[in-house]
């Protein structure tokens, strides 16, 4: 007659066996005094262990209400969502702005008129960037810099070719508070400058068909709307691309001639009750192209200038992430 092994008796007493195993053990126990005695000694050992471990109990505290933990979780979750969202935005922005826009600028058709002479000392290092997966940079863009350098040699250089600045709700006449190397001048909009072109709303595909790789955007964010205005025949149009963050907030990327872009921004800021009288009245003929701003919300604007063109990203972005972004962008541009 096989006796019940020790571990099986532990498992039996711990209710760790199946019903059929229990039935088997019980029928054996009923007929085996040796196993009965073994079971009793194991039961005693079990009780002893439990009693010993019971001495290792902390002083009894008061558990917080479950609602307290729920609130804590909500706070942590929203902080986490914000971090993830900012990180995703930051990563895509560095790629799109740092490389994509630069490359797009370089691939602009030679006949595109420029308002001011341009020098781009940093462009020659663009191809050395390790980032190669941006959709905004076609392979041809990487062959352009030499040509740009030649062109640059024929033109008087501007003070700074690359500049990045952060502006809080960009006022039309106030130069941007700058960071690090930057000195972007947001020019006062010329009241004489009327933007007569009609705004056209296009799908993403339509915009790409029309403007090719030069549609300004942030990689990885869904595009809500593309608006385009022909500024001058043969010249790269003024484009506004609205994209949605995971929070639902819409941010806009605007690219165009510097004067036109600042004009558009001026029109935007005049929507604020405290701002100066509207000076960008001619920005648009259609209300839908006025950059919308929710009441009580302060949009933030980030501007990047290269030659006579300007790239602006505007929307309800938290200021800390914006500043962090600019530091990163500056580092990015310096390393090129």
């Amino acid at each position: 007659m096989r006796h019940i092994p020790e571990e099986e008796l532990h498992a039996y007493l711990d209710q760790g066996l199946s019903r059929s195993q229990c039935v088997e053990i019980e029928s054996h126990l009923a007929a085996c005094p040796a196993c009965q005695s073994e079971r009793d000694s194991i039961a005693a050992l079990r009780d002893r262990t439990t009693a010993l471990l019971a001495k290792l109990a902390p002083p009894r505290g008061f558990p917080p209400a479950f609602e307290t933990l729920q609130r804590r979780e909500q706070v942590q979750a929203s902080a986490h969502r914000r971090r993830v969202q900012i990180a995703a935005w930051a990563a895509s922005l560095v790629v799109a702005v740092g490389l994509g826009w630069t490359a797009n600028y370089l691939t602009m058709k030679p006949q595109s008129p420029v308002l001011h002479p341009v020098s781009s000392p940093s462009v020659s290092s663009v191809p050395s960037s390790p980032i190669s997966n941006t959709s905004a940079a076609p392979p041809t863009a990487l062959r352009q810099p030499r040509k740009s350098q030649r062109e640059a040699g024929q033109r008087p250089p501007t003070a700074k070719a690359v500049s990045v600045a952060a502006v809080d709700s960009l006022p039309p006449a106030v130069p941007a508070p700058t960071l690090e190397l930057t000195s972007v001048h947001i020019p006062r909009p010329d009241p004489e400058l009327e933007l007569d072109g009609m705004w056209r709303t296009l799908s993403w595909d339509g915009a790409q068909a029309e403007a090719g790789d030069q549609v300004p955007h942030i990689d990885g964010l869904p595009v809500v709307q593309v608006q385009l205005q022909t500024v001058e025949q043969g010249k790269q149009p003024l484009m506004v691309v609205a994209q949605q963050l995971s929070s639902g907030e819409v941010i806009r990327t605007i690219e165009g001639p510097m004067g036109d872009v600042s004009h558009l921004l001026a029109g935007h800021t005049t929507a604020n009750p405290d701002s100066t009288p509207q000076s960008g009245a001619g920005v648009t003929r259609s209300d839908s192209t006025r950059l919308p701003q929710a009441p009580g919300r302060t949009d933030r604007t980030m501007a990047m200038q290269r030659g006579d063109r300007m790239l602006v990203i505007t929307g309800a972005l938290p200021s800390d992430s914006l500043l962090a972004m600019i530091r990163r962008l500056n580092a990015e541009m310096r390393s090129k």
């Binding site: 532990h10 262990t49 010993l52 001495k55 290792l56 558990p63 979780e73 979750a77």
Partner: protein
């Protein structure tokens, strides 16, 4: 009632106890237990009970590593060994309680980490399948491990009594 809320009401004390036996700091054990449930709220695990203890075990492990680092740091900072201040006991009963507790703590530390973990999980109220699921042990091996762990704990505890001349009362 929310399933997690129910679990919280029935298991919180067990989780604190489980953690306390690993970090030996009541306040810290409570903080970690609350962190465990906050994380459970965020993750909404399928098997919340097992999940809660698995996360508690992980947090305790991290805590132990951090404690080792702190200790190393303190050892470096401490140039001269200073006499430890002697703490005057508040009452004899307290001393006796502390001594008994220290004896069990020492006996527990004599077990292998695996045996100790399984014994503590069992004592926290986990079933054999839950213990097997969390530790990766075969279901059939849980009984074997528990049998060994219980035997060794009691033996180690009794050995201390024997070496101390049976000063403390038999528990």
């Amino acid at each position: 009632m929310d399933e997690l809320e129910q679990l919280y009401q029935t298991t919180y004390t067990a989780v604190v106890r489980f953690l306390y036996r690993k970090v030996w700091d009541a306040e810290r054990a409570e903080d970690l237990a609350q962190e465990v449930f906050v994380r459970a709220l965020a993750h909404r695990p399928e098997k919340p009970r097992a999940w809660v203890f698995a996360v508690a075990a992980n947090l305790a492990r991290d805590e132990a590593r951090a404690a080792v680092r702190r200790k190393r740091h303190l050892t470096l900072l401490k140039a001269d060994p200073v006499a430890q201040p002697t703490i005057e006991p508040a009452a004899d009963t307290m001393v006796e309680h502390d001594e008994r507790m220290a004896a069990v703590q020492e006996a527990l530390s004599a077990l292998t980490p695996r045996d100790r973990e399984i014994l503590l999980l069992w004592d926290a109220g986990m079933s054999y399948p839950e213990i097997a699921g969390q530790t990766g042990l075969a279901l059939g091996a849980v009984g074997t491990t528990l049998a060994r762990a219980r035997r060794r704990l009691v033996e180690a505890h009794d050995r201390q009594h024997a070496t101390k001349g049976g000063h403390a009362a038999h528990s």
